[in-house]
């Protein structure tokens, strides 16, 4: 009795979080000010973190909030405040609005259809024993396979980070050179 109640509460929360995330994504397209768009994106990300928590992958939920909201979006908000958009009346949408929307609707339909088709064609998936996803795997299994099976991929990200540092230095040099060119010319 309590179990089914909890499960229903679980799915209710899932639907609520999903609807909230979707609303945030739609607001991102509609709002004019970059700061409000950033707030909508932050709410979407936090709600997605809630969904991850409900799915039982709490470590991904934590990193979603820590990395995305805590690092990426704070950086973004900082830059928005730094730039402090001056243009008074800028058009919100480019003239790709109509064809872009049409193509997006088409893409949405195609993706939904193919995914739905694939799910229907799949033989009833072996659902994890407990029913809810909570018992699928925890952080112990995740970290063991992360550092044993996927250690090479993990190390390759350090190459990516190194490339990013080098690229950032290159960007700084370009900006310095352009500044010198303007000051001399």
């Amino acid at each position: 009795m309590i179990d089914t109640l909890l499960q229903q509460l679980d799915s209710l929360l899932l639907v609520l979080f999903g609807a909230g995330a979707l609303a945030g994504a739609v607001l991102m397209l509609v709002l004019r000010q970059p700061m409000r768009v950033a707030m909508a994106l932050i709410s979407t990300m936090v709600l997605l973190g809630g969904i991850y928590g409900l799915l039982g992958v709490h470590f991904i939920a934590a990193f979603q909030v820590l990395i995305y909201v805590g690092a990426v979006m704070v950086f973004m908000v900082y830059v928005i405040m730094l730039l402090e958009v001056r243009e008074a009346v800028a058009a919100r949408y480019s003239n790709w609005l109509v064809p872009g929307t049409g193509a997006a609707v088409l893409l949405l339909g195609t993706l939904c259809f193919s995914v739905w088709h694939g799910l229907a064609a799949q033989p009833a998936a072996p659902v994890p024993a407990s029913g809810s996803g909570a018992a699928a795997f925890g952080i112990a299994r995740f970290s063991a396979s992360f550092l044993s099976e996927y250690w090479l991929h993990f190390e390759l990200t350090s190459v990516l980070l190194l490339a990013a540092v080098v690229a950032a230095l290159a960007v700084i040099r370009v900006s310095r050179r352009s500044r010198e060119a303007t000051s001399h010319g």
Partner: protein, 100 residues
């Protein structure tokens, strides 16, 4: 509708909305944020699949996507700052001479 198809539908919707934002919006910062939204949609589908199959590969890939998203923002923001210093606007139409 069961949980998996619901979550996959949400992931697809987030991805398509992000793509639409990249196409139709004119503000460069908003476009960057829409790219983040696309990555979030992909992450959601990865988590859903990895939970459904009980395999950790999807969760590992989510972590790698986190790194990629952070690197992308860390490089895109200085480039946007340079562009804004040059053109004095965030409007994409002003950057037409980047076409080469």
């Amino acid at each position: 509708m069961d949980k998996t198809s619901l979550l996959l539908g949400l992931a697809i919707a987030l991805f398509v909305l992000g793509l639409l934002g990249v196409i139709v919006r004119r503000n460069v910062l908003v476009m960057l944020m829409c790219m983040e939204l696309m990555l979030n949609g992909v992450n959601l589908s990865l988590v859903t699949f990895s939970q459904q199959s009980g395999d950790t590969a999807g969760a590992v890939l989510v972590f790698l996507v986190f790194v990629v998203a952070t690197v992308e923002i860390a490089l895109a923001i200085p480039i946007v700052l340079l562009l804004v210093r040059d053109k004095r606007t965030l409007d994409l139409a002003a950057y037409g001479d980047l076409k080469g």
